[in-house]
């Protein structure tokens, strides 16, 4: 086995935080190597060192057996290292071709170079079956296609080592499969791939070897063939992970939310939601499964008062929700919250938190008017006490409520949001993608909290694109596709194939 990359004793500290401590492992040439670990385990730091964003405090990196000093990402690119970020680095209103050429235009006049590059791109696309039109404009492309553009960019820059950071987080199942096809072709051509992911199934599906990191150290480096999901999870978290969390038997109570014939049409007359109808009862978790962008977000926005429906009958605890006679949803979420509807928004950083606010300020977001005295002023002592309790109950780390929430990991941000909404003691909890970007240990604790909420008699509507999550939490499953509900299943009928078909719009099967 010939090593493509070798890490020797890499250490990196940020102030008091040890992001990487004495990291040693080797990645074989022409292999797909998985890198797993919880948020904050040091994966991203390590890859940033390899890609030249950071410089290690100690240790060395060997590329093809030679020690290399990578000072910036320009040098990394020259050495044949390419990186596909989780958030794409593309100019939306330019073509694929222009995006690839950006930074390597090679002179003042673009025209002549354009033709050569276009031919090269077409050749690469055929060779790696990338299925991207070099002349398409980025914003017309699907997320999966945009990712292929990023890969195309790296191949064009003759990357031999390709780092992919959480590449499947934004992809559908089909897109993921075609990405893996491309990666396998890559491997056949002798290129090396480093795959960072949270999803252990993907590690098993595609990698040859896998390195597990925890707390900045390498915990294990194993051949994928000899390992299981459970082994990897245990290594990542440092303790066994419970797959079947305890829950009370299914015993739904009175209807909490009744929806009939809900429609939503946007300004361009596009139907976003059509003929939605279902009932949600106390003490049950109804999960909405589906590929993201099929109307789930809009449904949650309507039910939380953030958006007005076009028409439909929506009753909460037997009374119509106060949509009537409104021209916009300004201020409506407050009314809904007072009725007893809490909402964990799917886009945490956009809707759920104010990044520049402290953790404490974020724990009162949405409830600010309940915590003021008669002068309209806050009692910060009481708020701090409330915040301390909430952070303790949900184990938010680090335990410092003055920290800006933007500095917390995604999982801890999510814990703050969930803790805040649970504390409101709602009758209905709307939960959007509760574990997106959250590591395994935290997923378990979030699931436990949601199940406890269900057992206490709260009605929960869950939107998730992770079928594993749906299976772990739901009592009933609704599948959405193209703004419609295409099917309903009880949890006992859980069947990935059938749900997959319903998600693709093949209903009544």
């Amino acid at each position: 086995m010939q090593p493509a990359v070798e890490f020797r004793g890499i250490s990196k500290h940020f102030g008091a935080v040890k992001a990487n401590t004495d990291v040693n492992f080797t990645i074989a040439k022409g292999s797909i190597h998985g890198l797993v670990g919880e948020n904050g385990a040091g994966k991203s730091t390590l890859m940033s060192i390899l890609y030249g964003y950071y410089r290690a405090d100690g240790g060395e990196i060997l590329l093809d057996g030679q020690a290399r000093n990578i000072r910036n990402s320009q040098e990394a690119i020259t050495l044949g290292i390419g990186m596909v970020h989780q958030h794409f680095m593309l100019v939306e209103n330019m073509t694929v071709l222009d995006n690839v050429m950006l930074g390597s235009e090679g002179g003042f006049q673009l025209k002549s170079k354009r033709a050569t590059v276009e031919a090269q791109l077409r050749e690469i696309c055929t060779r790696y079956r990338l299925d991207v039109d070099p002349l398409a404009v980025i914003h017309d492309l699907s997320v999966g296609a945009q990712q292929r553009v990023e890969i195309l960019k790296q191949i064009y820059r003759s990357a031999n080592i390709l780092i992919l950071d959480e590449p499947t987080a934004v992809l559908t199942a089909q897109e993921t499969e075609s990405l893996f096809e491309i990666l396998r072709l890559f491997k056949e051509q002798g290129k090396t791939i480093i795959l960072i992911t949270h999803k252990l199934q993907e590690i098993l599906d595609i990698t040859d070897t896998v390195t597990v990191m925890r707390g900045g150290r390498v915990i294990g480096a194993v051949a994928t063939a000899g390992t299981t999901k459970e082994d990897l999870a245990n290594m990542m978290v440092g303790r066994p992970i419970e797959n079947n969390l305890p829950r009370k038997p299914y015993n739904p109570g009175a209807p909490v939310m009744q929806i009939e014939n809900l429609q939503l049409v946007d300004d361009q007359q596009v139907k976003l939601l059509a003929d939605i109808g279902f009932t949600l009862r106390a003490g049950e978790i109804v999960a909405i499964a589906g590929v993201s962008g099929n109307g789930q977000s809009e449904l949650m926005e309507i039910l939380s008062g953030m958006r007005l429906p076009t028409s439909g009958k929506l009753d909460f605890l037997g009374k119509a929700l106060p949509f009537a006679g409104r021209s916009d949803a300004d201020g409506l979420p407050r009314t809904f919250r007072e009725l007893g509807i809490a909402h964990i928004p799917e886009d945490r950083l956009r809707d759920g938190v104010v990044k520049a606010f402290s953790v404490m300020h974020n724990t009162i977001l949405g409830y600010q008017d309940k915590l003021k005295n008669r002068w309209g002023l806050f009692d910060f002592k009481a708020i701090a006490a409330r915040c301390a309790e909430l952070m303790k109950n949900f184990d938010v780390r680090p335990n410092n409520h003055d920290l800006r929430i933007g500095l917390l990991s995604g999982g801890n941000q999510q814990k703050v949001v969930i803790a805040r909404e649970v504390l409101a003691q709602p009758k209905l909890m709307l939960v959007g993608q509760p574990t997106r970007g959250v590591d395994i240990g935290t997923i378990e604790s979030i699931h436990t909290q949601l199940l406890a909420l269900r057992d206490s008699g709260v009605a929960i509507l869950l939107v998730s694109v992770e079928l594993e999550e749906v299976r772990a939490l739901a009592d009933r499953i609704l599948v959405m596709c193209g703004g419609r509900i295409t099917g309903e299943l009880k949890i006992e009928e859980f069947d990935t194939t059938r749900i997959g078909l319903l998600m693709g719009g093949m209903h009544k099967s």
Partner: protein, 359 residues
């Protein structure tokens, strides 16, 4: 910028001071190039602005107006709105104040005239900010564009109103008649004779009170919480139940009213009549103060005093040093805005590196 998360003491004190010193250093260089001694000139500037009691009195007089315009810009900034229109709002507010005074100054006592003048000013200032606020909230017209336009409209409108209606018969000076003595803000020199014949008046204390109310409202009230949430993340504010368009209109009204209150000091505290262009750039200085003071009450106070000192000191400097033109203070002001506003984080990497090395 996000790369160096500096401690509070560094961003709140060390960096502004470094920025300020840099601006003064460049100013000193220019003074040297003009053929005057920088050390001597700075001495004159400082002496006349803060050491000499009469000078200090003038400094604080200017600062009183600047605190109001600085607050006006700051509170809008908290909601993510860049109110460039404090100038026009204060100008139009002068009309509200003057109309009130011309109506009541011969019939009502001082203790009633002062609040009436303030109400007139605040009302007209708010009125001038209402339309930009409404258009921003309901139609999405950018408040920067509309408030700039409203500055020009205010200029033209006031010109017409003063020249056509307010100039007393037989007068040439484009100004209203002077108010009666009852409509004059009590000056501080009646208690502190050392201040001499200077216009510093109780507006200064009103400005301090406004700063305190602003500080409490913004950082300790639920309204301020919603205000800041709106400024930092509109989506999250909507999620939190804030009525965004109402918030935008409200904060623009308050902003306009605060800018308007600046005219109380300028007119009732000093000239005692409404004249053309009496604002003289105080609204624009408010922008610099809000930026430099980082919308914090203490910061606004210090920046307002600094700009007051520059005007006062710069004026005296140009009188004493013939090579230094009176516009120098505008130049120094520009340098301060450049260093403290546009190049705010200029020293951040260096400070971050220093702190890191210490560790």
């Amino acid at each position: 910028m996000n790369n160096h998360d500096l401690p509070r003491w560094a961003t709140a004190f060390v960096m502004p001071i470094l920025n300020l010193l840099s601006a003064l250093l460049v100013a000193a260089l220019v003074i040297y190039l003009l053929g005057e001694s920088p050390v001597e000139s700075m001495g004159i500037l400082i002496n006349s602005a803060v050491v000499n009691p009469e000078g200090l009195s003038y400094t604080l007089f200017y600062a009183s107006t600047f605190i109001f315009t600085g607050l006006a810009v700051s509170i809008a900034m908290q909601a993510g709105l860049f109110n460039i229109g404090a100038e026009g709002q204060m100008y139009f507010a002068g009309l509200g104040l003057t109309l009130a005074m011309l109506t009541f100054d011969s019939s009502l006592p001082m203790w009633m005239l002062i609040p009436i003048g303030m109400i007139g000013a605040a009302l007209f200032g708010a009125l001038w900010a209402f339309l930009p606020g409404y258009l921003q909230a309901k139609r999405g017209s950018h408040v920067v564009v509309t408030t700039i336009m409203f500055n020009y409209i205010a200029g033209a409108l006031m010109n017409t109103v003063i020249v056509k209606y307010l100039v007393p018969a037989g007068e040439q000076n484009p100004a209203s008649r002077a108010f009666s003595a009852a409509a004059e803000m009590p000056r501080l020199n009646q208690w502190f004779p050392v201040l001499g014949e200077t216009p510093l008046n109780i507006s200064f204390f009103l400005a301090i009170i406004a700063l305190v109310i602003y500080g409490v409202m913004v950082s300790r009230s639920s309204w301020g919480f919603k205000l800041r949430a709106t400024g930092l993340n509109k989506h999250a504010a909507h999620y939190a139940g804030v009525r965004i368009s109402k918030m935008i209109i409200t904060v623009m009204l308050i902003s306009g009213a605060l800018a308007g209150l600046g005219s109380v000091n300028s007119i009732m505290g000093s000239t005692h009549y409404l004249s053309l262009n009496f604002v003289g750039g105080a609204g624009f200085v408010g922008i610099a103060i809000a930026l430099m003071g980082r919308q914090h009450p203490v910061g606004i106070f210090l920046s307002a005093v600094l700009f007051g000192a520059l005007i006062q000191g710069g004026f005296d400097l140009s009188l004493e040093k013939q090579n230094i033109p009176p516009e120098t203070f505008i130049f120094i002001q520009g340098l301060i805005i450049l260093f403290c506003g546009a190049m705010e984080n200029f020293y951040a990497p260096a400070i971050a590196a220093l702190i890191k090395r210490k560790k």
